[in-house]
Symmetry: D2
Subunit: 419 residues, 4 copies
Amino acid sequence: MATSSVSEVVQAEGHLIDSQLLNAIFDKVIERNGKFEVLHFDIGRTNDEFSKLTLKVSVENESALGDLLEELMPLGCYAKPESDLKITPAEADACVPDDFYSTTNHRTYVKYEGMWIEVESQRMDAVIVVADGRASCKKLRDVRRGDRIVCGVSGIKISPEFRERDRLGFAFMMNDVSSERRVEVSVSKVLAMLKQTKRDGGRVAFVAGPVVVHSGGSPYFADLIRQGFVDVILAGNALAVHDVELDLFGTSLGIDLEAGVAVEEGHKNHMRAINAINRVGGLRQAVDEGLLNSGIMFEAIRRDVNIVLAGSIRDDGPLPDTIMDLVQAQDRYADALRDVSMVVMLSSMLHSIGVGNMLPSSVRVVCVDINPAVVTKLADRGSSQTAGIVTDVGLFLHQLSMQLTGSSESANRERSEER
Amino acid sequence: MATSSVSEVVQAEGHLIDSQLLNAIFDKVIERNGKFEVLHFDIGRTNDEFSKLTLKVSVENESALGDLLEELMPLGCYAKPESDLKITPAEADACVPDDFYSTTNHRTYVKYEGMWIEVESQRMDAVIVVADGRASCKKLRDVRRGDRIVCGVSGIKISPEFRERDRLGFAFMMNDVSSERRVEVSVSKVLAMLKQTKRDGGRVAFVAGPVVVHSGGSPYFADLIRQGFVDVILAGNALAVHDVELDLFGTSLGIDLEAGVAVEEGHKNHMRAINAINRVGGLRQAVDEGLLNSGIMFEAIRRDVNIVLAGSIRDDGPLPDTIMDLVQAQDRYADALRDVSMVVMLSSMLHSIGVGNMLPSSVRVVCVDINPAVVTKLADRGSSQTAGIVTDVGLFLHQLSMQLTGSSESANRERSEER
Amino acid sequence: MATSSVSEVVQAEGHLIDSQLLNAIFDKVIERNGKFEVLHFDIGRTNDEFSKLTLKVSVENESALGDLLEELMPLGCYAKPESDLKITPAEADACVPDDFYSTTNHRTYVKYEGMWIEVESQRMDAVIVVADGRASCKKLRDVRRGDRIVCGVSGIKISPEFRERDRLGFAFMMNDVSSERRVEVSVSKVLAMLKQTKRDGGRVAFVAGPVVVHSGGSPYFADLIRQGFVDVILAGNALAVHDVELDLFGTSLGIDLEAGVAVEEGHKNHMRAINAINRVGGLRQAVDEGLLNSGIMFEAIRRDVNIVLAGSIRDDGPLPDTIMDLVQAQDRYADALRDVSMVVMLSSMLHSIGVGNMLPSSVRVVCVDINPAVVTKLADRGSSQTAGIVTDVGLFLHQLSMQLTGSSESANRERSEER
Amino acid sequence: MATSSVSEVVQAEGHLIDSQLLNAIFDKVIERNGKFEVLHFDIGRTNDEFSKLTLKVSVENESALGDLLEELMPLGCYAKPESDLKITPAEADACVPDDFYSTTNHRTYVKYEGMWIEVESQRMDAVIVVADGRASCKKLRDVRRGDRIVCGVSGIKISPEFRERDRLGFAFMMNDVSSERRVEVSVSKVLAMLKQTKRDGGRVAFVAGPVVVHSGGSPYFADLIRQGFVDVILAGNALAVHDVELDLFGTSLGIDLEAGVAVEEGHKNHMRAINAINRVGGLRQAVDEGLLNSGIMFEAIRRDVNIVLAGSIRDDGPLPDTIMDLVQAQDRYADALRDVSMVVMLSSMLHSIGVGNMLPSSVRVVCVDINPAVVTKLADRGSSQTAGIVTDVGLFLHQLSMQLTGSSESANRERSEER
C-alpha cells in the first residue's frame, strides 16, 4: 500500500448503515489505496434515526485525493462545507470544461452564494448549469456556449436515496434475482405498490416490449390500463404494431395467439397492420374511426394515457406515431417521466435502460423479464430503487390481472355489503 | 473430396420426408466425405403413404464404409437385408467385444436365424443380448460373461420414430424454443395430450425438481395428481423434503411461500422436515400417522402413484425413502418408465437427462423450464419426441390447474345439463 | 379435417430435400387443414442435382386456397406459371392496396409482360414496385402515391436459399446452439469463412455492441480491422463512446480494463469521452488531430471502413457521428449492406435484428453472443443463413486474433521459406 | 407493527460494517416486526480495527423473541454470554429433539462447562454433538441414539467470516455477476489466488463438469494438474468418461474436438470408452497398463491427485471408479475437502452445490459457468466466500493455461537471469 501523505476530513449523515453507505465509503477508500480514520460516528439508535460520520481519509497525493473525494460524493460524503461552488462557462455548444461535474441520479445540493440549493431535473450523466440563482441538470448536448457549468467537487452535496426496510415488502424483492420464486407473491406486492402509489396521487409509467403481446399479456395489460393504473406508456414501434396486428388479425408476428400456430410466412399481417394505420394517419385516428377496437393502444388512447413510441434501427414501418428522431424521442420520454413515482418495466431491455438513465433515484422501479441477466443488468444501474422479477411476462400480467379482478370483486362486495 | 472407391446399396422406407430422414441420410454421406446416388425413390403420394429409398453410397475405403453404414442405421437405412446378425459372447462381466452394437432409442429389429425379431426393452446406449430366440437391450453393467452380444451392423434394422404432423398440435410446440410465446396455448395443448393419453389408457410420468415447490407449483401439481393425471413421479430427495417442509412449516428452503419473506437462516425448517420424517420412518408412515396432510407426496401416496426418489451428491438427509444406491435408483426409474407413454419434465435437468436416457423414442416428452438452454439440451437428445416450453414452472402449473378446473367445471356443467 | 373441395397444382424445383423444403411444403398443407397429392417427383440423384416437384393441393374453399398458395410461395412453390403479375397503384404515400405482396428475404422473380424478371434490392417485409420494366423492393414508408405495387400471388416465384452441405463447415455450426462446444473449432471455421470471403473479393460487415469493449475485445477487433477483414461496421453510439473512453482513459463504463476495478462512480469518463469528441467535432477529426490513437474507431477510420452509428433511446451524448434520425440511419445501414456477402454479429441484439431485417438470404451470417436465447432468436429469423456461437465475445475475439496472428505468422514463414 | 413487549440485549463484535453484518442485523429485527435500540456501538476507527455492538431488541412475545435470537446468531449476535449450552440426547438413530440447533457454515463456539470451545468439522445443515469435552458437527443421518445434541440457542456463538476488502482483488469479482466483463482480468486474479494458496501451503480442489471436456478445456486443465495446482478433483462419472473418450478416440460425446463434426450417432465412442475401462478394471489400471495416455484423469492419477467420482441418475456405465452409493460418495467428498482452502467450480451445478453444502465459510470459492443463473445460485449460498465468473469454461481454462505458461516462462527467465 502506498504511503499516504495528504488527507481531508469528510462528513456524511443519513441512514448510513441501512443503505450500506458506510461500508461503501470504507470500501472506496481502501480500493483507492487510501486509509481512513473514523474521527466521529454517531449511530442511529433506532430504525428511524440518522447516523452521522466524520471521517479522515488519506491518500498518496493531491491528485488521488481529488479523485477519491469525487468518488465519495455519490455516497453522501462532502468536504469543506463552507466552500462555494466552482463555476466555469461552457466554451462552446455541447462542450464543457474538463473538470465538469457529472451528475448522479441522487438528489443533489449545491452551495451557491453561501446557500445550499437543490438541483432541479435531477438525472444521471448530466451537467449542472447555474442560472438566475437556480441550478438544474442539463444533458451535454443541450449545453449552450456560455452556460455556467458546475465544475470540481466543492460546494456539492449528494443525498443518496435510502433503502427502506419495511415498506410493502419492496426490499424483499430486491434481495435477489432468481427464477426459483413463487411469482404470485411478487405479483401481490407489485399490486400493493401500484395501489399505494395511486392512493398517494402518484403517477405510474410502464415500459413495455413487444414480448408483452407475443406472450399473450395484452388483454391483461389492457385491464390495468382500464382500471387506471397506467399513466404513461413508454415503448417502441414494435409494441404498437404487434398490438394493432393482434386486434386486426388475431396474430402477433404471424402467430395466431389463440391457436398457437403460425398463420403466415413473411410477417405479412405485421405489414398489413402498419399499412392500415398509415392509411388513417395514426393510432388515434384508428381509434376514432373505429378501425382499432381492443388492445393496449386502444385502451390507452381512450383513457388519454401519455404514450411515447421511440423508434429504433429494427423498426418496420414505422407507424406515423413513432418518433424516429431519437433526440426528440428522448426528450419526450424525459418529459413523460417528469412527475412519475413508479415505473414498471416489462421485457424491454432497450427502452428500460433508456428510461433508467432518465430517472432520479427516488422513483421506484419494478423490472419483469424471463431472462435473469436482463433483470440483473437493470437492477445494477440503481440498486436502491429497482426490484427484479424473473418470470414469464405474459403469465405475470395474467396473474396481476387476476389478483386485480379478485381484489376489485372483493372491494365491490365489501362496498355493497357496507350499504 | 476423397476418391470414392467402395460402395454399398442401402434401403429405407417410411415417412422419410416428414421426419427429415432423407435429408439426414444425404447429409451424413456428404459429412463422411462420401458420395451418393439415388437408385430408386418412391415418394409417398399423400400424407399417409410411405416413401421408399434405394441408395448407393460410396466412400474411400472399407473402414470408412463400415463407419458410414453404422451411422446410417439410426436413420433407418439397412444394407444386405439377407444377412444374419453377428453374435459374439461377452468375455467378462460388464465387458463386450470391441465391435459391439450400441443401441439407439428407436425401435430395432435384428435378423436372427433368418427371422426379423423386435428388440425388447429398447433404450439407448445399451447392448443387445440374444438369448432363447429373443433379443433385448441390456446395460453394459448388467452384461454377464458369456452373454451373446450383437456386434457389427449386419442384420440390424432401425425404425426411427416418425414425426407426426397433425396430432394435438404437438408439432407446433416442437418448432422452436422461445420464451416469447403465449404459454396459455401450450398449456392447453399439454392438457389435451394428458387427457388423450389417459383416454387411450396410457400412463404418464412426471419428472419434477424442487423448483416446483419453490415457485409455488405444489398445490397445482397436487391437483393434477388428485385428478388422476399422474401415474409415476420421478424425482430426487430435494423435491420430497421441500414438499414436506411446505406442509409442516409453510416454507420452502426457509422462504414463507405466502408472505414471500425468509423465515429462518440456515435452512432449519428443511432439516426439521427431514428429522420429522426420520422419526416416523418414511413418507408413507408420515401420511398414515397423519403427520403429512397436504402436498405432492401426500396426494401421490394416497393415490398409490409410483414414486421413485433418486439420491444425489447434494442431498441433505436423505429421507428414508430416497434411494442412495444409484444403480438401484436407475433400475427403479427404468422399471417405473417401462409402460409409460408420456413424460412431463418440470425444472429438473439432472433427473430429466437421466429419464431421457432410459426412454424409447416412441414416448412423448414435454419439458418445461425457465432456462431456454435446459429445454434446448433436453430437446436435442431426442428431437422427434420432445416439445419444450420456456416459462416459469410455478405459473405453468397454476395455468394448467386453472384450465383443468375450468374444463372439469365445464364438463360437470355439460353433464348436468344433459340430464 | 375439413372436406377439401378446391385444388390447385403447384411446382417447385431445387435442392428440395437438402433444404428441408419438401418437408416444409407438406407440413404447410397439413397445417392449413389441406391435403396433398404428389403428382410427380424427380429426386436429384446426387448431391449436385436438383429435384423437381409437381404437387396437387386441396383445401376447403377458395379463400383458404389463396392463403395456402401465398404461404407456399416462400418455399419455392408457384402456381399458374403462365399468369402475369397483378399490379395496382398505391392510393397514397406509404399506403398500399390490401392484397399487396409482402416480400421475403429470398431471391424473387416476377412475370411482367410475359417475362420473368428478378426483383432488385431484395429484402424482407417490403413491397415490390414495378417501374420502367424493372421490379424492386421498396419499404412501405418509401412508397409514393401512384407507385405500381405488386399484389396477389400470381406471377411471383421465389427461389429459397439452399442450405449447402459441405462448404467450410458452416452447416456444422448451424446444427445447434449450445455453449457446450469447443469454441476454438468455431473460431477457425469463422476465420476460414472470412478469408474465403476476402479471397472471393467479398465484403464483410461487423455488427458490434458495446460488450465488445467491456469484455476486452477491442484490441482483437482492431487487429481484424488492421488486417483488412472488416469493410463495414454497423453499431450504435455506445460502441463508439466506450471505445473512445478506453483509448482516452483506459476504462469502459468506469471499469479499468487492465486492473479490473471500478475507477469512478457515475460514468464520468464516459461523459468526458463524449465531451472530448464534441470539442473537436467528431471521430474523424479526433483521429486527424491526434486525440484518438488506438481502438476500433481509430483503426476503422484510418482504413476507411464504412462506419454507421445508429442512435437509440438509451444513448448518452450522442457523439456528433451518431445518426439520431432513425429513418436516415436505417437507410445508411441498408446502403452499407448493399454489396456485403458476410456479416458477423457480436453481442448486439438490437442492431443485429435491424441488420437481419435488411439482408437478402444469400448473405452468410455468424452471430456470437453469450446468451443462447439471443443466438436462437437471430438464427430463427433466417435459419438457412445464420450460424450461432454461444460464447464470451471478448474471449472469442481474442481467439480469433490469436488464430489470425498464428496463421499470418505461418504464412510469413511459408513465404520466407519459399524464397 | 405489533406492540413490542419482550426484549433482550445481544452483543456482537468484528468487522460489522465491512461485512454488512450491522445492516443485516438491523434488517432482521425489522423484518421480524421487532424494534431495536443501539445501546452501545464502538466503530473500528481504521480498516483493521473491530467494531463492537450492544443492541437491545424488542418483539411481541417470547416465542418471537426466541425465533429472532436464533436468526441473529448467524450474524454473530449472542445473548446471555454467561449461559451454558443446552444438551439433549438423541431419541433414536438419525432423530434429534425438535429444538435442535441447526448449524451454519461459519466458525462456531459453544459454551460447555463454562468454557467456549470451537466446534469441529464445521459445515452447514448439521447438528452439534458434544462428547468427551469436544463439540463437532454431525450429519443428521450419522446421529446415533443417545448422542448428546446441542439444542436451543444459549451458549452458542457464531463468528461469521468477514469479507476482506483488499486481498488479491477477490472482492472485485464478488461485486457482480455479469458476462460483460473482461475475463482476462478475472483469470489473472484467479491465477494469483491459486499461486498464493500454494505458496501458503494450502490445498486446492476443483469441481468439474463434463462441459470442461466438451468445450475443449481438457488440455488446459491437464496443464494445471501437471503444474501442481490441483490437489483434489471432485466430479461425476461423466467427466471421467468424456475424458477417456477424448484420449482414446479424440471425441467427446461423439463430437470430434479437432474437426468439430459429429463422428457417430448414438454416443458409441462414449460406450466404447466405458467398455475399455471396464476391461482393465478401472482408471488407475488404464494408466498403469498404458491404455490411457493423456487428459485430466491421466495427469491426475500420475500426480496422485485425490479424485472422487460421485454417481448420479444420468450416468452411463458407470466406470468402476465411480461411487454409486451416494452416502459413501458424500462422505468421500467431505473427507477430500477437509483441509482444502480454495475451491474452483467449473460448469457443474450439481456437484458444486454438493460441495458448497460441505464447506466451512472460510474456504475461498471461485465459480465459473457460462450461465449467469448458475453463478448467482452458487454465490447466493455463501455470499462472503464465492466469486463468480460468467464465461465460456473452455476458453477460461485456455486463458488460465496461457497466463500460467506465460508466467512460468517469465519465472524461468527471471531465474536464469538471476544466475
